[in-house]
């Protein structure tokens, strides 16, 4: 699965969970925290993205992720 496809899904899920953010504003360099997602939101966004893409990765793999690009990389199986 391409990183673009993962990023697109993640963005759609993100604005579903945090509606205050406009989808076009989200970049790979942003951290979910800086965009206003708290720890519960962040976990929900990752879980839901995995569900939609049918990916299963242990959640602790994302603990070191510093921005959305890192999360996308983990989801794509390329590590953070």
């Amino acid at each position: 699965m391409s990183q673009d496809q993962i990023f697109q899904t993640l963005k759609e899920v993100f604005v579903d969970v945090v509606p205050e953010v406009e989808i076009d504003r989200i970049t790979l360099q942003d951290s979910m925290r800086d965009l206003g997602a708290n720890s519960i939101d962040r976990a929900e966004i990752i879980t839901e993205t995995m569900e939609q893409l049918d990916i299963a990765v242990p959640m602790v793999s994302f603990a070191e992720a510093r921005n959305i690009g890192d999360i996308v990389a983990v989801l794509a199986g390329e590590g953070a």
């Binding site: 945090v18 205050e20 925290r33 206003g36 997602a37 708290n38 720890s39 519960i40 939101d41 962040r42 976990a43 929900e44 879980t47 839901e48 569900e51 299963a56 242990p58 959640m59 602790v60 793999s61 994302f62 603990a63």
Partner: protein, 421 residues
């Protein structure tokens, strides 16, 4: 083979004498309030400087012990304290608790630790003691007692990030359970346990009187364990279905929002449920357990049992109901297990008057709360001698005088001396 039963015969909770409104506290600390509401926290109990894990444990357990006939009290042959708020590396809190409860000296006393998993560790140990029938008819008293320490360990980025929610979520409380072969409150499904543990540095207490942690890592680990422990349970129990086998689900509750997130993850991953169904299921099977937890905060080892208490107090028990329990402790270890509660359980739990105990707590202003926090330094870990001042906040002292509770009076050459107030 004869079917053996074991579980909780009686249960009680002590949640302190005071509380703060956590929304007010979050505002004062200038935490991001915009999304604070979805963390589902309302109030948290605050321990007074003259209360410690021993006094909390005794105050939780005393009503259970007092309700027993002397011959039954003498059948308490094991007392386990479960805590991450220990007051001594060697001497166990259970020895003080044993003394103040006046239990038989023919009793095994010890303490267990594994962060918030300690309560389950103690409970399962007690259940197995009863099931083993090495002393037929014997009872075990398990007391999970903890209180948050608020000074976050200084220095280092990884272990302090986003740790600000620790203060509003960290409560104080003790849950006491009498475990026996007459489980009036909660009868365990014998052998229906799924464990999952591995080494992770999520939250910890690496120095006395303080905590450190990575809140994100802890949440992620909790979520992983929630599924993995359930999968282990599933492999042992024939025909189990996450959605229909359990009438209620009791989760370890650091704060309500975390449980809501974990439940959502489980329903998405295991049941492939959609949002509206997840929400309905949450309200029906999970929310009853959060009611008390949202008023007390995270009491660590006892939290999962406070959730169980709340589930039994607020659920519908017209027929016997199966409750699935998920316990997690940082570091980490987790377990999914289950048992059955009945209408009789509900009557007994409600007779303990937990709502009134919570309603009767004194509401601290932020100013009073800060004064108490500062005063906590006088009983820092390792204090050799001190006389406790009971009237740091005089209004609080007035509100607890005559309640018959135990308080810490002094520390005399490391020995803790208590008095009934």
């Amino acid at each position: 083979m004869e079917r053996r039963s074991a579980g909780i015969e009686a249960i009680n909770f002590y949640g302190g004498s005071t509380y703060v409104d956590v929304t007010e506290l979050a505002q004062y600390r200038q935490l991001d309030n915009e999304r604070f509401a979805n963390l589902l926290m309302h109030e948290k109990s605050v321990a007074l400087p003259f209360e410690d894990p021993v006094s909390f444990a005794v105050n939780a357990a005393k009503p259970l012990v007092d309700a027993l006939a002397p011959e039954d009290r003498d059948r308490i042959e094991m007392l386990i304290t479960c805590t991450e708020s220990g007051i001594d590396f060697g001497k166990s809190i259970s020895t003080y608790v044993h003394d103040h409860l006046g239990l038989s000296r023919n009793c095994r006393l010890f303490e267990v630790k594994n962060a918030c998993f300690s309560g389950t560790a103690g409970f399962q140990n007690a259940v197995n003691f009863v099931l083993s029938q090495v002393s037929p008819g014997a009872k075990a008293l398990v007391v999970a007692t903890d209180m948050a320490r608020f000074r976050v360990a200084e220095g280092g980025d990884a272990l302090s990030e986003d740790w600000s929610f620790a203060e509003p979520s960290g409560g104080a409380g003790a849950v006491a359970m009498l475990v026996s072969d007459t489980p009036h409150i909660f009868s365990v499904d014998v052998g229906a346990n799924g464990s999952y543990g591995y080494e992770v540095m999520d939250t910890c207490r690496p120095v006395p009187d303080s905590e450190a942690g990575n809140a994100d890592l802890s949440l992620m680990s909790y979520l992983d364990c929630c599924e993995a422990a359930y999968r282990a349970y599933e492999r042992r129990v024939d025909g189990v279905d996450y959605r229909t086998t359990f009438d209620y689900l009791s989760f370890h509750t650091p704060f309500g929002g975390m449980v809501k997130g974990a439940h959502r993850t489980m329903m998405r991953r295991i049941c492939k449920a959609k949002a509206p169904a997840v929400e309905e299921d949450f309200g029906r099977r999970v929310a009853p357990g959060l009611a008390y937890c949202q008023r007390v905060g995270n009491i660590m080892g006892g939290t999962v049992f406070l959730n169980l208490l709340s589930t039994i107090a607020h659920g519908d028990f017209d027929a016997p109901r199966r409750i699935g329990i998920f316990s997690y402790g940082s570091g980490c270890c987790s377990e999914f297990y289950s048992g059955v509660a009945t209408q009789g359980s509900r009557h007994r739990v409600r007779a303990m008057g937990i709502d009134k105990v919570l309603d009767d707590r004194y509401r601290l202003s932020i100013e009073q709360y800060l004064r108490l926090m500062k005063e906590n330094d006088v009983i820092a870990f390792g204090t050799r001698n001190v006389e406790l001042q009971l009237d740091v906040v005089p209004e609080v002292l007035d509100s607890i005088r005559g309640t018959g509770r135990l308080v810490l009076e002094r520390i005399n050459e490391f020995h803790r001396e208590y008095a009934w107030i």
